[in-house]
């Protein structure tokens, strides 16, 4: 996690220095895009990599035998492992968000003081309008639900990785499978659209599209930040629905993981 946060901080600071040559709107837009985009990549990556190692590592260290020899139900073992990863993800999202808001605020204050210096002779209403425009293009309260959805997506990926790791033999296999699942999950919406179209394709193609749609999660639904940064307001109902769907996914994958792990011979 430390390296992820370090990389994120370097990316933010480097980006913010480089972007100083842009107008403030361009600078804030690119800063937000890069910060939230990299936050999404890093949390997804952390969710997969951290979870993929959990069970193989315990098997390798033989700690799993010590734990399961005690009266600890296997479901609790899995739940504990997943809870640990979710906590780690929450911590990394909080740290990355804090860093992002600090950098955004520093840049905003710089632009505000520069504007105040340049417009000191302007009428107060013009000055207020200019400062308002700067503030509006910097921090936006809609960024918060966007960040929350990034976390929900990471939770979903962590639960799915845990499920895959219950039948995988190595952490590498789990990671590779999850990379594929990640890409297929983002294409799932396209597959669903074609599948549900009445006269889109032959039955073999339709069967394949149905297979993709039913088996893989639709990760595109959790990509709200692109549009939030562009200024779109997320209605509360949509946010709640998306977050609920994400946690529902995570819960279901945990149950699936348990159903595989329940009778697994260790």
């Amino acid at each position: 996690m430390f390296y992820v946060v370090l990389l994120f901080a370097l990316l933010l600071i480097g980006n913010s220095i480089f972007m100083a040559q842009f107008t403030f709107q361009q600078e804030f837009q690119v800063l937000k895009d890069i910060a939230l985009g990299s936050m999404s990549i890093f949390t997804s990556l952390l969710a997969v990599v951290a979870t993929a190692r959990l069970i193989p590592q315990d098997l390798e260290d033989r700690t799993i035998y010590t734990i399961l020899a005690k009266p600890v139900p296997r479901f609790e073992y899995l739940l504990g492992k997943l809870a640990g990863v979710l906590l780690l993800l929450a911590l990394s999202v909080i740290i990355m968000s804090t860093l992002f808001f600090i950098v955004l605020n520093v840049r905003e204050q710089n632009v505000l003081s520069e504007t105040l210096r340049q417009m000191h002779a302007s009428p107060p209403d013009q000055m207020a309008e200019a400062l308002g425009a700067i503030r509006a293009s910097a921090f936006n309260v809609n960024l918060l639900p966007g960040i929350a959805i990034i976390y929900v997506k990471a939770c979903l990926l962590a639960a799915l990785t845990l499920f895959v790791s219950t039948f995988a033999t190595t952490a590498m296999f789990t990671t590779v499978v999850m990379v594929f699942v990640y890409f297929i999950g983002h294409l799932q919406a396209t597959a669903r659209a074609y599948w549900l179209q009445t006269n889109a394709a032959g039955w073999i193609t339709k069967a394949f599209l149905a297979f993709v749609t039913l088996l893989f999660p639709d990760l595109q639904l959790f990509n709200l930040v692109d549009d939030i940064v562009a200024g779109t307001v997320i209605p509360l109902a949509l946010f709640v629905k998306t977050a609920t769907l994400g946690f529902f996914y995570a819960g279901f994958y945990l149950l699936l993981a348990w159903s595989v792990f329940y009778r697994k011979e260790l």
Binding site: Q26, F183, L215, L221, N223, D227, A230, P235, L238, L256
Partner: protein
């Protein structure tokens, strides 16, 4: 083997259960113009295979930003063809980012058109003017496409009005688009005023312009700006408004 079958069956059943919810959320996304990107072969040709996959995998805004930075560099080098190509890609990937449409239109209609007029390699004035007009058209095209993707936001209507006013000298259209901008939520306070200013420059619509400017004047002190008073005074003379109905402010 049985367990694998049960797991796949469980996944499929879960898939069918969540399908209506996901479909409803996807419909809500479309209504809100989320991800209004056409991931087709044309876009793939434009941004390349790698960029296309990245855009499809949830890194759409990151790819758009990288291309935007490239467009900025191309602008610094005054490579106008490349600027146009890159901004077409950027706006295709991030159609909801107003800033990208505005910047693209500004580069085309203001910067590239000015560069075309000063092009020392083209000695014929007629061809330079033709090139300049083509860049105006490219800027207009960006704004019109941007408006189609963002019909609810005022900024692009305003930018198009400015383009009509400053580049085409078309006050009729400028008034129309300033008016449309003023009707959208979050429009700047001056949009309504600017629509009336432009209308006052349209032949045959002086009475309408006078009524609008007078309504703004009557709205309060904040609207009584020097330009508004000057235009009102001009229209009072042009329309031969009776002296007792004229505004009392001196000509600024």
């Amino acid at each position: 083997m049985m367990r694998v079958f049960i797991v796949i069956l469980g996944l499929a059943l879960f898939g069918s259960a969540r399908l209506p919810t996901e479909h409803a959320i996807a419909t809500a996304h479309r209504q809100l113009h989320f991800c209004a990107v056409d991931f087709d072969s044309e876009l793939r040709e434009q941004i390349g295979q790698l960029g296309f996959i990245a855009a499809l995998s949830g890194f759409r805004s990151l790819v758009a930003d990288v291309l935007f930075v490239q467009a900025h560099v191309a602008w610094e080098r005054t490579e106008w063809g490349r600027v146009l190509l890159l901004f077409r890609q950027v706006t295709t990937l991030q159609p909801r980012a107003i800033l990208f449409w505005e910047t693209a239109a500004w580069h085309m209609a203001w910067n590239a058109s000015a560069a075309a007029m000063r092009d020392s390699t083209q000695p014929r004035l007629a061809l330079r003017i033709k090139a300049q007009r083509e860049y105006f058209q490219l800027g207009k095209d960006f704004l019109e496409r941007g408006i189609r993707k963002n019909p609810d936001r005022p900024q692009l209507y305003e930018a198009l009005a400015r383009l009509y006013r400053d580049k085409y000298n078309d006050h009729e259209h400028a008034a129309e688009f300033f008016g449309k901008a003023a009707d959208r939520p979050g429009a700047p306070s001056y949009a309504k005023r600017f629509a009336a200013y432009e209308l006052s420059a349209c032949r045959g619509r002086e009475r309408e312009a006078y009524d609008r400017l007078h309504a703004l004047y009557a709205a309060g002190e904040n609207e009584r700006l020097p330009t508004l008073i000057r235009r009102l005074k001009d229209l009072e003379i042009k329309l031969a408004i009776p002296l007792d109905q004229r505004i009392s402010d001196p000509v600024p």
